[in-house]
Symmetry: C2
Subunit: 242 residues, 2 copies
DNA sequence: CAGTGGTCTAGACCACACC
DNA sequence: GTGTGGTCTAGACCACTGT
């Protein structure tokens, strides 16, 4: 797949780190790596920058490049940004089966909030799609999504019972590549309690935000109410610069 | 502050976008920008990559570089990664005053979990610091932090009543630069309810994780129970690559 | 085909850490 | 001073989009 030089180097260095083939928790300097891999120093820097951003290594100007000891101890922690859960579609959760129940499917005028979030005019219409997602027969997420009609005029309830994103990719060659989400916490409503099998004291997590296509078009505004036991969002935070 | 060429270009382009000085929602091509700013194309690419990662622009190979329309509509949404809340220290929340009440301060052997997270041996000791944070006199966060003694042997309860990170920076020249956190949701415990003035049906958000120094040393393992109304974590997610 | 972004090179010079 | 990572250059060549 990734035949790009810098990606191969990323993979190779990652493997060496995991195999404990790196002595002193320290990588060779960039100029040596450049020679060893037979690429320019720029390419090495590109690879190391990715690894640094993933928190796997730390670079210190004047000193060298070091391995994050925690990565060795527990590198399963180092999968970030919603890979555990949180994607509207593509939830597959390691070996467990995921199903969808369609709760509601309508076409309606875009409210002011929706207009703003999807960059629509006041006369635009959107699909309002409400779905309940199960993983291994347990209800996990109540998801309400809004999609502009003009972007997918051919959508049907049937399509919506599985992954909309996959459908878009394979049929329309439109790919969802980015999203901006906020995460909040709230007590469960009676509807949450019924659909997600919660008691009154059990809460939900709320992930809401907008998904974008690769050309920058806002594609879907989505609000997900997540069973509290199944929301686990991992992230890395940089406390620095601009 | 940032006299680096690529940072200046980032700021300048951002300003032009906000001032609507960019026609057609489209930036000039990289080679033109390179000439216009009097820098190499590589430097332009570096700047554009940062803007793209922030979601402000989208690049399409073969077509050009385009502005995310949502950024114009509501660029306040585009401040990410815990800037709203979530940092253990440095919570200053725009104009509101923040105070700290010290609930507990102990030295104890590191438990197995703490050993793992802070990369310690079984004979190492840690501070256990439990604090209640207020913003504008409202209790917001119950924070329990663990810090290896050997990293800051001189810590005192007095220091701990304000920002530990600031103290570390100014006194020991050790800077906290990165953290890996997980975000979860849970019903409130009786203790949560008392300290954060919650009812039984009101939940808390939990942010737990490890903070690292600039040399990669794990510095603090922290678990924060956050009043549900005050947890609002914004993030951007890339659905692509490696 | 021309235009655009993506990858990569080979090297200069700077800033910082450590001896 | 030596060694390290950081910034930046000038340019080659490739891959994709659109006319």
């Amino acid at each position: 797949m990734a035949d790009l030089a810098y990606r191969q180097i990323i993979q190779d260095i990652k493997k060496q780190i995991l195999n404990q083939e790196v002595t002193n928790n320290r990588l060779p300097d960039e100029r040596s790596l450049s020679e060893a891999y037979g690429v320019s120093r720029s390419t090495i820097k590109r690879a190391l920058n990715v690894l640094a951003q993933q928190g796997i290594i730390f670079k210190k100007r004047g000193s060298g490049t070091f391995i994050n000891p925690l990565y060795l101890k527990n590198h399963s922690l180092f999968q970030f940004d919603g890979n555990n859960l949180g994607m509207t579609d593509n939830i597959s959760m390691a070996g467990q089966k995921s199903t969808i129940q369609l709760l509601d499917y309508q076409v309606q005028p875009a409210s002011l909030e929706i207009q703003q979030n999807l960059f629509l005019n006041e006369h635009d219409f959107v699909y309002r799609i409400k779905r309940l997602r199960f993983v291994d027969d347990s209800p996990i997420i109540i998801e309400t999504g809004y999609i502009p009609i003009k972007l997918v005029p051919e959508l049907t309830p049937n399509i919506v019972k599985s992954s909309i994103f996959n459908y878009m990719d394979s049929e329309d060659h439109k790919r969802v590549i980015k999203s901006f989400m906020s995460i909040q916490v709230a007590p469960s409503t009676p509807e949450d309690q019924e659909l997600l099998s919660l008691t009154a004291t059990e809460p939900v997590g709320i992930m809401a935000g907008t998904f974008f296509l690769d050309d920058g078009t806002p594609f879907e505004f989505s609000s997900m109410r997540v069973h509290y036991r199944y929301l686990n969002y991992n992230t890395s935070i940089d406390l620095a610069e601009d």
